[in-house]
């Protein structure tokens, strides 16, 4: 068959993430890496602590990525990246981008101290947190990125998570780093643009990528991209950028804010919730959204 038209491609065709990797079907973390590396190009080093991605890339001596990876300890993504950066500088390489690539557990919880240290020193690293809202690699335990109401193996249905998600972006903003942004795998062009922008900034940069996990969320693999879109439309995970901890830019100004119900319904991890619990979640989302709008207006 032949068609007159050309295919519409909104991203570069070069791939630095390869097939044959060990990610589950419909894994959002896989998409996050694919888009991110398209923006970074080959002169990139990844420092990956224990997390799904430490497995997805494949067993030694194989790797599904065509950039070097330094596998490091769970708590040490940021400090490892700092060290790699210092080493490269010593040998006169100031062109390679050094990236710390960690999960939410490795960022919000155990890696927070190392990340805060690097950010306070404004070390020249790009830190990426792909957020699947729990410790997935070890079998779905709650993290401080797990949202209120969610089931995990450590927050069973009867004792579902009773605390809201930690606001990691506010913590990073308090460090006054030059650039930080949120992104979702369902808005790859936006993710690409932000990764490119982050690459061009000197100092500590932070990207927070929303990455649905069908296995841990008990959702259908084919819904992964849909879920990543819904969180933008219902304002659970707004897309915004912060410069120097002060200048807030909202990337998608949602006018017709959707209720969170449809999003919750697609995921088994929220199946046990009663209308009252959902109401608590909705109010939390509304509060966070109003607070973000205020910050964006003020800057």
């Amino acid at each position: 068959m032949k068609k007159e038209k050309k295919m519409t491609l909104t991203l570069p065709v070069e791939e630095y993430a390869g097939s044959g990797n060990l990610a589950c079907q419909g894994c959002g973390a896989g998409l996050a890496m694919r888009y991110f590396l398209k923006a970074m190009g080959p002169r990139t080093v990844l420092c990956i602590p224990a997390c799904c991605w430490a497995v997805i890339d494949g067993p030694y001596p194989h790797s599904s990525l065509s950039v070097p990876i330094y596998h490091c300890a769970f708590e040490a993504a940021a400090s490892t990246a700092t060290g790699v950066k210092a080493g490269l500088e010593m040998v006169g390489d100031d062109k390679t981008t050094v990236v710390a690539w960690a999960g939410d557990g490795g960022t919000f919880d155990i890696g927070l101290q190392a990340l805060s240290g690097a950010a306070e020193r404004n070390d020249d690293i790009l830190y990426v947190c792909y957020d699947n809202e729990a410790y997935m690699n070890t079998g779905i335990q709650r993290s401080s990125a797990t949202p209120y109401g969610a089931w995990t193996t450590t927050t069973p249905v009867k004792f579902f998570k009773n605390q809201p998600k930690k606001d990691i972006n506010a913590i990073m903003a308090a460090h006054r780093i030059p650039y930080q942004a949120t992104a979702s795998i369902s808005y790859p062009e936006d993710l690409f643009k932000k990764a490119k922008k982050a690459k061009g900034v000197k100092g500590t940069r932070f990207l927070h990528i929303y990455a649905p996990c069908p296995t841990g969320w008990k959702s259908r693999p084919e819904d992964a991209v849909k879920l990543g879109r819904m969180v933008i439309q219902n304002c659970i995970f707004p897309l915004y950028e912060i410069e120097y901890g002060e200048k807030y830019t909202l990337n998608i100004k949602v006018k017709d804010k959707k209720p969170i119900n449809d999003y919750l319904k697609l995921q088994g991890r929220f199946r046990h919730l009663k209308p009252d619990d959902i109401q608590i979640m909705q109010e939390e989302v509304d509060r966070n959204w109003a607070r973000l709008l205020k910050k964006c207006e003020a800057s």
Binding site: A17, G26, S63, E222
Partner: protein, 99 residues
């Protein structure tokens, strides 16, 4: 990017064969994840509007572009169904795999 022909598994027979530094020297292409699949995407090309959305959202880089049309690589497609779900004209259908 390593090519398809590099799709062989590296097995060291002795310690001497190992690189001095523990570094990755092979791709994952030996791992044909197509065998994970229960359902397979089939693209009705006559209805395809060439929007590139299936290519863009495939988490496994298993949709290629040949002659300006999408082509599924069944060696690696895991059958997640994202392409079929996201296709705006619904010209991708998921059909059951048969032995």
């Amino acid at each position: 990017m390593p090519k398809k022909k590099d799709a062989k598994k590296i097995v060291f027979q002795s310690a001497d064969e190992m690189p001095m530094m523990p570094m990755s020297i092979g791709s994952m292409l030996y791992n044909k994840t197509g065998s994970w699949r229960n359902i397979r995407p089939e693209i009705r090309l006559e209805d395809c509007i060439q929007c590139g959305i299936c290519w863009k959202f495939c988490p496994d880089m298993s949709i290629g572009i040949e002659n300006e049309l999408p082509v599924v690589d069944y060696d690696y497609c895991k059958g997640c169904g994202i392409c079929a779900e996201e296709c705006p004209v619904k010209c991708i259908v998921m059909v059951e795999e048969r032995k």
